[in-house]
Symmetry: C2
Subunit: 231 residues, 2 copies
DNA sequence: GATGATTTGTACGTATGTATA
DNA sequence: ATATACATACGTACAAATCAT
């Protein structure tokens, strides 16, 4: 009908493009949990037939970003409070494992880079620059994921992080979280630089659990107030 | 045109059935890594058209059991040695996390059940009953996964275990592994019964790493000898 | 390197099953 | 509760890309 997309028909297949787009929309909250993913609607939004749409929806539900009920259509994944708690907890365990391994395995260069990044963020804390700090935070944790030198563990963490992304939007709005976050990071960096795996694991677990608790509280708050929303 | 199958049209959809079947075949080694998954061939093996086959293949590749190259078909996932090492390592970390949480959270009943199962396996060790022990081993680890009371962590462990299944066939053939395995389990059970999370984590990590090393060695052995095989 | 055969990717049509009046 | 409407699941047909010769 409109063919509005299809820009850059380069790499991969149509389906891959759709998956990326839809996954981003879900992860960024543009498609909120519970939103119906109508095959026909998506088909003409992307200017394709229903076949590739179906493939994309299948992949998304396999990723856990969407949920497909047989013969009843597909919606953006709805996560129960219990499940969300479990996911945050698993995230803490995964990051903790990464940090432990990173403390044991990071190269000298990787350690320097982590420390440098961490020290440079002190300014952001002082200025109260929430958005910039949020971006730094992503890099910081990313360096630790890489530092564990385990591709599979990294994949598990990334996947879980993506699934949690729609529920983490409240990150640093809480008063004083910026400074506390930095201090928690400091404990992690110190442990990693010392090569103390157990300390790094413990500090990381505590840090992630703290962040998780804040996010979870925010989510269950907004859930009781606004039951639904459509863009 | 013929609809020859569809026996037991009960639960789920055709695609789900295919996914289960193919996943089992891959996990059990009936479809070896690298085996081509021909759409047309599978279509008439299952008595369906290519459309549901394509969906199933998409899901399998999303699960990491198959690999799909754009315009170049789909094969049973080929795992490099490095990737395999990473997966075994992640498995150790995941199980370790489960054990730590299980030590903190298992109910009295769950602890009793774990201990009872473990003690009952002593006989199997004495008799050298490899197959029976292998089945027990599955239950044993299963109880710990459940004991952590975290659905998401359990899912991650299960998924990873499935992906590793094709590479674990050598489990208990090594001389003396049965007894050693039981002794390692004993350390885990003791720690869990004491409610000592850290000890449980450490014992579990050591145990899983030991098993992994054996599997990895076996795989790289067989890889050097038989490069390919077709059923 | 070009051509034909095979196989994948996409479009479209039909039937079955689910929700709604 | 029955019927109507609609969305999904699968089958078939065509187009495009890959590979084998």
């Amino acid at each position: 009908m409109m063919q509005q997309k299809r820009a850059l028909l380069r790499a991969g297949t149509t389906v891959d493009e759709m998956i990326r787009t839809l996954a981003d929309d879900i992860v960024n909250g543009i498609l909120p949990p519970g939103e119906k993913l109508d095959e026909l609607g998506l088909a003409d939004r992307f200017g394709v037939s229903r076949t590739p749409v179906r493939e994309a929806l299948g992949q998304l539900s396999a990723m856990g970003l969407a949920e497909r009920r047989p013969n009843r259509g597909c919606v953006v994944a709805i996560i129960t409070d219990q499940r969300l708690t479990d996911m945050f907890e698993a995230m803490a365990e995964l990051e903790s494992a990464c940090a432990r391994l990173a403390a044991l395995r990071m190269s000298a260069g990787e350690r320097r880079a982590l420390d440098a990044l961490h020290q440079s963020a002190a300014t952001l804390v002082h200025d109260g620059a929430q958005d910039a700090y949020s971006s730094f935070n992503l890099q910081f944790h990313g360096l630790i994921y890489e530092g564990c030198h385990s591709s599979y563990l990294r994949d598990l963490v990334s996947t879980t992080r993506s699934r949690l992304a729609p529920f983490r939007r409240a990150q640093f709005r809480m008063l004083g979280r910026l400074r506390k976050s930095w201090e928690e990071h400091d404990a992690i960096v110190t442990a990693i630089l010392r090569g103390d795996g157990e300390a790094a694991a413990i500090a990381t677990r505590a840090h992630v659990i703290t962040v998780s608790a804040a996010s979870a509280a925010f989510v269950s708050d907004t859930r009781t107030s606004l039951p639904q929303e459509t863009p």
